[in-house]
Amino acid sequence: MNNRYSIFSLARNALSHHEKWGRAWRSAEPQPEYDVVIIGAGGHGLATAYYLAREHGITNVAVVEKGWLGGGNTARNTTIVRSNYLYDESAHLFEKSLKLWEGLSQELNYNVMFSQRGVYNLGHTLQEMRDIHRRVNANRLNGIDGEVVNAEQIKRAVPYLNTSPNARYPILGSSFQPRAGTARHDGVAWGFARAADARGVDIIENCEVTNILRDGGRVTGVETTRGTIKAKKVGIVVAGHSGVLADMAGFRLPIESHPLQALVSEPVKPILDTVIMSNAVHGYISQSDKGELVIGAGIDSYTGYGQRGSFNIIEDTLAAIKELFPVFSRMRMLRHWGGIVDITPDATPIIGKTPVENLFINCGWGTGGFKATPGSGWVFAHTLATGEPHPINAAFSLDRYTTGYLVDEHGAAGVAH
């Protein structure tokens, strides 16, 4: 297919008034049977399909999506990408992902605008500073870039941040990961979709899985709103809806689905060149390439599938942003929205087997899985292809909740991101 994207193809197509561009992905009709069916065409599901094809040569794959691809949390996250997690298991997983991010635009031939503008995680209390040191030291020894910077250094890098020692919660310092940053969320889904499609994967939108078919203890396929699809293996990658799918397959998950909100300001000229996250004051902020301030909020305490949350969270978040950046007080909120995040008790994902044979699950990314999109797809593809987890995701099994081996990342994930 002569559908490569480049400045030259753009010029060539301009001559034909862009009438000759092919589809980024086919609108596939469901086939009766596949080797692998992936439920959920979010970034993670699409990446899984792509790496199944690319790394394992498995192309008889369908990704079924109840709505429009990339329309779940992939469409509504604040796009922060970093790998400075505390525990070895998480660090290796997220760093694997970050390495994939670094070549992703070229790999997919789709500009996902991965912008390594760095991420600051601010510390406002002595205990937060201890935790920051602990995490950055661990990152360094795990081969992950990062340093601890003081208020003076932050002030120089981010002049409009309130670094006054008289602030209610003065900034005592921060971790800084230079290779971290943001990416264009929709582009990530589209890029993976296009690349997976090019390798033969069927992406089937507007196709909701309504039941998971089993024979004995073994999965045989899925029932969907567009008919039954048989499959040798099935992977569930539905983020906030994981509990619903698990229920269809007859087991329970240690997951609660909660609304998580975000918002954007009206667009302004460049004013913030990096990403600022604060746990104690509770908000995080970056500026998109279009100029809006993209701001993330705390999670709603109650469970909900409504893709909207409570207004007081928005108020509290903007009070926090005003505290961090008093100059943004006169900026205006353009739009706020919510997603449904799948929260585990240890703030760590589940990637691996389920009680049903040949049925695998990838979920529990909660407030922070966008950054993992390529890495998650990569390890999950391995798991689906071989039937066994890759060493990188071995620790993220469902049965850790039974044995007590938890990788508790609450510290690193404390603020939703």
């Binding site: 998950l253 240690p254 609660e256 689905s257 109650y302 409504g306 008790p345 909740y401």
Partner: protein, 95 residues
């Protein structure tokens, strides 16, 4: 922003309440008699339904009482509210 009808104090703003998770989870009578799997079930596994959810809230900035709520997790509509210990049949007056 919910308005929750505290079974003691009447309707109040969500900000006076705290969410207290899925309701009706019984702590095993004799924890040491449970298997690891049963214990994990009690500890971590949740119904997390998309639809009607039986849950607990506490009027933490009011009468301090925990109570039971049946709420739809998509529409966020509250179907019924009961004091702890009241069965669905006895309460369920508000809708």
């Amino acid at each position: 922003m919910f308005q929750i009808d505290c079974p003691w104090c009447g309707p109040r703003d969500q900000q006076e309440f705290s969410y207290a998770g899925e309701g009706g989870i019984q702590r095993p009578q004799d924890p040491s008699a449970t298997t690891d799997a049963e214990w994990a079930d009690y500890l971590f596994m949740r119904r997390n339904p998309r639809g009607m959810h039986h849950e607990q809230w506490r009027h933490v900035h009011g009468c301090g009482q925990f109570f039971q709520v049946t709420r739809h997790t998509v529409t966020y509509r509250i179907e019924s509210i009961r004091r702890m210990g009241e069965s669905a049949a006895a309460g369920g007056e508000s809708s």
